[in-house]
Symmetry: C2
Subunit: 144 residues, 2 copies
DNA sequence: TTATACCGGACCGCTGTGGTCCTGTTTGCC
DNA sequence: GGCAAACAGGACCACAGCGGTCCGGTATAA
């Protein structure tokens, strides 16, 4: 498995759409454009806004816009925003005391290189890479 | 997060212990040696045996033994054994039809490089690497 | 013959996730 | 000045997956 959550998947799709359109897009508009349910899109955008990946603009004619180009947004950042810090095992981020087998655990502390490898792999891929060859407004802007 | 299951963690610990001891070890013995509950160790070993990573020997004086040295056992194999095939999104392994937004999904099929990157990173690390500098029987064999 | 230990299940509580909804608050437009 | 659009920040609930335990069956050595 090693599966990441659906929310993260949605986040990537929404960000890709946001990047393709450019400018300010509303949550309902993005929902229609991506096929994801509107409340879910709103939830994702709120989380992303919380982590300064997008910026919300309130009021009528409001919406969301990217705070940096997709090319400067590594996948690891998005995953970390939605799911929290990237670490394969609980051992790593919880520090000490949480593992009852600390004394006899032969693997103690050796997960670090693994985590780093994963992190590096994920940091080397940007949302722009996932969004395809810069799909520049190939869709109608606020399609129904 | 991107967290892998505890079972996988246990599997690595148990395998490391099995490799350090060498020969045939019983589930209760490994449980005592690792600090993991015995039924859980048994469960993990059963799964590993199912995937030909260890071999079970029934009867009195039975137990489990490694089917290949830890050095030839990449982490990806263990993860795949416990959690199933490694794939970050449901899109990938489910093929078609499972994603209702196939038509509008701009990310369609672009997760493959990501999955491959993760898989490679995990395949490059063996259990021997995680088990430390070949801890050869530094503990008493079947310690209580 | 008996004790040991694996084998293959079923079983259950819990946590986290996915998804929805509701009540503010802000802002543009008529 | 009033109204509608749209974000903000929650609470809320159903469901699936995971962690963990237990039981009956079978093989094998002493």
């Amino acid at each position: 498995m090693l599966r990441l959550s659906k929310l993260t998947d949605y986040a990537v799709v929404v960000l890709a759409r946001l990047g393709a359109e450019g400018g300010v897009q509303t949550a309902p508009g993005l929902a229609a454009g991506t096929g994801v349910a509107e409340p879910t899109v709103a939830k994702v955008l709120k989380i992303l806004a919380h982590h300064d990946l997008v910026e919300g603009q309130r009021g009528a004619r409001g919406g969301y816009r990217l705070m940096r180009p997709l090319r400067d947004m590594p996948l690891s950042t998005v995953i970390a925003a939605i799911e929290g810090p990237i670490a394969l095992t609980a051992c790593v981020d919880n520090g000490f005391g949480s593992c009852e087998a600390e004394g006899v655990c032969a693997v103690r502390g050796r997960w670090d290189p693994v985590n780093r490898a994963i992190r590096d792999a994920l940091a080397g891929i940007t949302i722009a890479d996932l969004a395809g060859p810069t799909v520049h407004a190939s869709f109608s802007a606020a399609a129904e």
